[in-house]
């Protein structure tokens, strides 16, 4: 008999897998080709969805970080860490899809326009988050340090975005942003919404799975630590 949690988790997996298959079909088989950008425009559904979910992930890092500093219970830290890991993965995908989209449309792999630049900074900040966890001393110091970064990192991102925008206004825009390739027709807009919803469901599943894994990891460590200190254990085994 599965517990309610397991049912929920597996249910989510099934739902998100189904939704993913559906939208894959729709993206590649059903939705009309964009008349300006051509086939490559289909990457938009992935790119925009991933962007939204990455942002959501980092918001959850913020929530976990604030919760941890305030309440001190490890579940907040586990939440923040899980979201950060997934967030870094998503941001990596965001950057890759962005690069792949940019080359055929703009003719360059990369440009320092506000959204791309901010995504790169976001990526760097949260990679630093993971590094910080890895390099911190054992115990809850690492969790506290990361929580501090998780908060200021999130607050900083809008400031970074604004600053890059300001910076770019001084230089004439050579390249127009991808959204300016004409307004989306209704079918595209609806598919985009569906794609965003699909990725969100996938994200929730991944978050729950990673969170419970992280929780178990911490518990195993704790039990191992307790066993090592048992007074009935012969000294040679400590």
């Amino acid at each position: 008999m599965m517990s309610i949690g397991a049912v929920l988790k597996n249910g989510l997996l099934v739902v998100s897998a189904t939704m993913m298959l559906v939208i894959l079909y729709l993206i590649f088989m059903w939705v009309p080709t964009d008349n300006i950008q051509g086939t490559v425009q289909r990457i938009m559904y992935f790119h925009v969805s991933v962007a939204w979910v990455a942002f959501l992930a980092f918001f959850i890092v913020l929530v976990g970080s604030v919760g941890y500093l305030w309440k001190g219970t490890s579940k907040w830290d586990q939440l923040a860490y899980s979201a950060a890991e997934i967030g870094v993965l998503l941001t990596t995908l965001l950057l890759i899809t962005g690069i792949l989209w940019a080359k055929p449309i703009w003719g360059v792999w990369w440009t320092w326009e506000p959204r791309l630049t901010t995504s790169l900074m976001l990526w760097l900040i949260y990679v630093a988050y993971l590094m910080l966890r890895a390099y911190s001393p054992p115990g809850n110091q690492g969790a506290r340090y990361a929580a501090v970064l998780g908060i200021i990192g999130f607050i900083d991102v809008p400031i970074v975005y604004y600053s890059v925008k300001l910076w770019r206004t001084v230089h004439p825009q050579v390249i127009v942003g991808p959204a300016a390739s004409g307004s989306l027709d209704a079918s595209m807009r609806n598919l985009l919404l569906l794609a965003v919803a699909t990725f969100t469901v996938l994200f929730v599943y991944l978050l729950i799975a990673r969170f419970s894994l992280r929780k178990s990891e911490d518990e195993v460590e704790l039990i191992r630590g307790l066993a090592e200190h048992s007074p009935n254990l012969p000294p040679s085994l400590r």
């Binding site: 390099y135 970064l149 607050i155 900083d156 910076w167």
Partner: protein
């Protein structure tokens, strides 16, 4: 609890005394920044048009990286002799300890930058003496010192602290760098103040956010 300003004063006095004896921080910043300026000159080639165009960027890269070095040195002294524990034992507010360390770092960074400025002007053929430039340097350094003090207190306790501080610090202070370079660029070209307002405002906003956040986050960081 010991009062706020006497705590800050005691910390600043201690850091200044230590610095006067060793000259450790200021020399590190000056040496590194000077070397950066020289290397940049070689890297960017002999064309004076190119070097003038990138001068503001070069200046701020030098200040930023040298600043990271200065921040690291400031906390290495505390950590390696166990003095961080000594600070933790004092019945002072953690915010006061933060402000004391921050003002100390700010002071050393600012002094080094002011010494460096004429050297930069000579190497890059800039006649910069706009008062606004000093304002930009002042505001940007406040930003560096405020977030830098928080992050160095974190980095000092990690393995590989030399890479941890830049990793934490640099992405976060990008707004300062952008603002400072934009405003300095206008200053070097003798442009109007109105062109500098927006970047300067950007730096000010960052400074306020960074100071308030760091002061309150510091206590979480100064503990085992």
């Amino acid at each position: 609890m010991t009062k706020f300003w006497p705590t800050v004063a005691a910390l600043m006095w201690k850091d200044i005394m230590l610095e006067l004896r060793t000259k450790d921080i200021v020399i590190s910043i000056l040496a590194f920044a000077l070397l950066s300026l020289v290397i940049f000159n070689f890297a960017l080639g002999p064309s004076s048009q190119i070097t003038s165009a990138v001068a503001p960027g070069v200046l701020w890269v030098a200040f930023t990286f040298a600043g990271v070095l200065g921040l690291t040195r400031s906390f290495v002294l505390e950590k390696d002799q166990g003095n961080l524990i000594g600070l933790m034992l004092t019945p002072t507010s953690r915010e006061a300890i933060y402000v004391g360390k921050m003002l100390g770092s700010f002071f050393f960074m600012l002094m080094s930058e002011i010494i460096l400025l004429p050297v930069f002007a000579v190497l890059f053929n800039i006649s910069p003496f706009r008062l606004e430039l000093l304002l930009i340097i002042l505001l940007a350094t406040i930003g560096f010192a405020s977030i830098g003090t928080l992050f160095s207190a974190i980095a000092i306790n990690t393995k590989s602290r030399e890479i941890m501080l830049p990793m934490l610090f640099l992405p976060i202070v990008v707004p300062i760098i952008i603002g400072a370079v934009m405003a300095s660029s206008t200053a070097f070209e003798s442009g109007p103040w109105s062109d500098m307002v927006k970047p300067v405002q950007l730096i000010v906003v960052f400074d306020v956010v960074a100071l308030i956040f760091s002061a309150f986050a510091f206590e979480h960081v100064l503990q085992e």
